[in-house]
């Protein structure tokens, strides 16, 4: 439990990461009507797919950050050596990642959907699918971040 409290505390004290990934998502979605077409009939079928793609990308971008500082200051080593099972450490990291990255997007989904001219009933379905799917995205993103955190200059988005 201490692990989770610590993650949330750190997140609240440095909300820049969460705001960044949210801003990224909002900007990308805002650009679509400008870049493709403002015509609601053409935008509307794209809506759910676009929001899902943006969710995935912003989750991937945030994943590295959720481990990088703990790796740099040695907290991650101490967690590995701790009495906590590693699956719990990973799960807590994923939960914190979800709260900082997917949850704000989920709350913004009605506005993002509105920007893409989605009708209300489709927005409700979109949110339901995000509630189900985004925790799995977080688990995958943390998996990628765990595998790449020790490599210099690489990210879960683009391992090298």
């Amino acid at each position: 439990m201490m692990l989770l409290i610590r993650e949330l505390k750190i997140m609240l004290r440095s909300p820049a990461g969460a705001i960044q990934s949210l801003m990224f998502a909002v900007l990308v979605i805002a650009l679509f009507p400008l870049a493709i077409t403002p015509d609601p009939d053409q935008l509307e079928p794209l809506g759910i797919g676009l929001i899902w793609v943006v969710t995935l990308l912003s989750c991937l971008l945030a994943a590295d950050k959720s481990l990088a500082s703990d790796y740099a200051d040695g907290s991650l080593e101490q967690m590995v050596l701790s009495d906590y099972p590693l699956w719990w450490v990973c799960l807590v990291k994923s939960m914190a990642h979800w709260v900082s990255c997917a949850l704000p997007l989920l709350l913004m989904a009605p506005i993002l959907g509105g920007m893409l001219a989605m009708p209300l009933d489709r927005i409700v379905w979109l949110m339901a699918s995000l509630i189900l799917g985004s925790p799995i995205l977080s688990l995958f993103c943390i998996l990628g971040a765990m595998l790449t955190v020790g490599l210099n200059q690489s990210s879960a988005c683009c391992p090298s």
């Binding site: 201490m2 004290r13 440095s14 040695g74 080593e77 101490q78 590995v80 701790s82 009495d83």
Partner: protein, 196 residues
């Protein structure tokens, strides 16, 4: 008791070290000596259980628990010293009253900074936050990699007092240091050579 038997580590096309043997009994200290790049930190990581690509054996008698403090010692910049200490201790399921935490920090001369995030502290002060954990841990084997560096003279004095108390109570201390620590001049030494 901690025993190392013909420990070798092969890394990047060469032996970092080869056929190390050592035995540390309760109440004894062992100093790891070697130049930069001789493999001291790798040896510490092997002893702590963080690094597993080695030949030979590390035997730790009884489940006594070990505490590893390396170059990066797990102090988060966003948390206050008390929060950091509380978290680090909770990793070994130690729950303590806040009074004990502040007392441990005060022993390492950190009293005015309790309510600030650690980002406001200097490198040496952050290290003291991590070292305050030594006063409250139940681990009997201490693995201190360069714990004496970045500390000023009073800080070093407190740390060596704490280590001596640990040895007097039958603990095991394994440390590395480039500066001579007069209090541990008599400690057994394990020498690592570069490029063997």
């Amino acid at each position: 008791m901690l025993q190392i038997e013909s420990l070798s580590c092969f890394r990047q096309d060469r032996y970092l070290f080869k056929d190390l043997n050592a035995k540390v009994l309760p109440g004894q200290a062992l100093q790891i000596v070697g130049e930069n790049g001789a493999g001291k930190t790798t040896l510490f990581k092997i002893l702590a259980g963080l690094f597993e690509e080695y030949d030979g054996r590390v035997i730790i008698a009884d489940a006594v628990g070990s505490l590893y403090l390396g170059h990066r010692y797990g102090v988060n910049d966003q948390l206050t010293p008390v929060e950091n200490l509380k978290f680090l201790l909770s990793l070994n399921e130690i729950q303590l009253a806040p009074g004990l935490l502040t007392a441990a920090l005060a022993r390492f001369q950190l009293s005015a900074e309790f309510d600030q995030p650690c980002a406001a502290l200097s490198e040496g002060q952050k290290k003291r936050v991590a070292l305050a954990r030594l006063l409250l841990t139940s681990a009997r084997i201490w693995l201190l990699d360069e714990a004496f560096s970045a500390l000023d003279a009073p800080g070093r004095a407190v740390l060596s007092e704490v280590c001596q108390a640990h040895l007097a109570s039958g603990g095991i201390l394994i440390f590395s240091s480039h500066q001579g620590i007069p209090e541990f001049a008599a400690a057994a030494q394990l020498r690592l050579e570069v490029g063997s």
